[in-house]
Amino acid sequence: MIWAVLVAVIAVPIAAAAASPLLAWRSPVYIAAGFAGVIAMAMLLLQPLAAGGLLPGLSAYRARRLHRFVGGALVSAVVIHVAALWVTSPPDVIDVLLFRSPTPFSVWGAIAMWALFAAALVAALRTRLSWRPRIWRRVHTSLALIVVVGSVVHALLIEGTMETVSKVALCALVVGATVKVIVDLKVWSAAARRDMKR
């Protein structure tokens, strides 16, 4: 049941974007850029669910593998998103990366992108960093929270290929799932360890 809802929640916004009239007036590279962003937004919903062990039928180990895999896929999707936008209109992307773009949503997107890269980096270097688990979790979770807030504001402010209702619903679910998992796992509580699903 949860899986069926999840598949629908992820598939509907992508399908709705695929029906956007804007696509008729865009080059294939620009379309790919948009879809990389839409798919990344949909994948973002899986991350808190996998991290919090909320996906039924998945062992803690499998859930953690999924979280890691989706994290890598998210980084790839964002790289494709930015690279394809760069090909479509280099000056607009340079403005965004230098934080001088006239469009406010792009700043949120850039912040979310750097937070995503940082979250992925601390995950990749986890054993080498040898931070205390609680510290590592707080850093990774804080970065993830920036990714979620930045991405949601970024998506909501854009007038693009995403259909409005499915976009707002997906964003609400991403925020809801993230908040629930952070509260459930008591990331910021000293007595969090008994809940650790590792």
């Binding site: 804007l22 936008l85 209109s89 000056p91 469009t103 007038e159």
Partner: protein, 162 residues
């Protein structure tokens, strides 16, 4: 037009302020004496292609870009000024050559050029305009449409003599 972050709201507010300033300029001519030059907007020059040709219309038309060109200080309308226009439309991307065109202001300093329908690109339905002919200081504008269904868009220039 001096705001750094141009959103629809500030654009509307600025547009309203410009309209109000224009009206009050008519009522109280003394105020027009200090008319400040228009500053370039952020991102205004993106995908600019210098020397776009003067055209009857860009592509198949159906959408109107219009505005005025006045001189800073006294606000006198400037005739025969070349304004270059480009946008992401139903017929092409901003950087495509066929998306670019130019027109001249009439005796009242008014310009008007028909072009294809502007569609949202990079998150906002917007157009680009340039004054870049040398006699006055160069200005790049990037006005945003209130709604992507609009069939027209305006942009106004107050130019500073070089």
């Amino acid at each position: 037009m001096t705001t750094d972050r141009i959103t629809r709201r500030t654009l509307l507010a600025t547009g309203g302020a410009v309209a109000a300033a224009g009206l009050s300029g008519l009522v109280v001519p003394a105020r027009a004496a200090g008319l400040a030059p228009t500053r370039s907007m952020r991102g205004g020059s993106n995908n600019y292609r210098p020397d776009a040709p003067i055209v009857e219309r860009i592509g198949g038309g159906g959408f109107w870009m219009s505005g005025t060109v006045r001189r800073a200080g006294d606000g006198a309308p400037l005739a025969g000024q070349r304004i270059q226009i480009w946008a992401h439309t139903t017929e092409g991307h901003e950087r495509d050559w066929h998306s670019h065109g130019a027109t001249l202001t009439d005796a009242n300093g008014v310009f008007r050029l028909e072009m294809p329908q502007i569609v949202p690109a990079f998150g906002q339905p917007h157009g680009h305009l340039a004054y870049d002919s040398g006699e006055f200081e160069t200005v790049f504008l990037r006005p945003i449409m209130g709604s992507s269904k609009d069939k027209s868009l305006e942009a106004h220039f107050v130019l500073q003599p070089v």
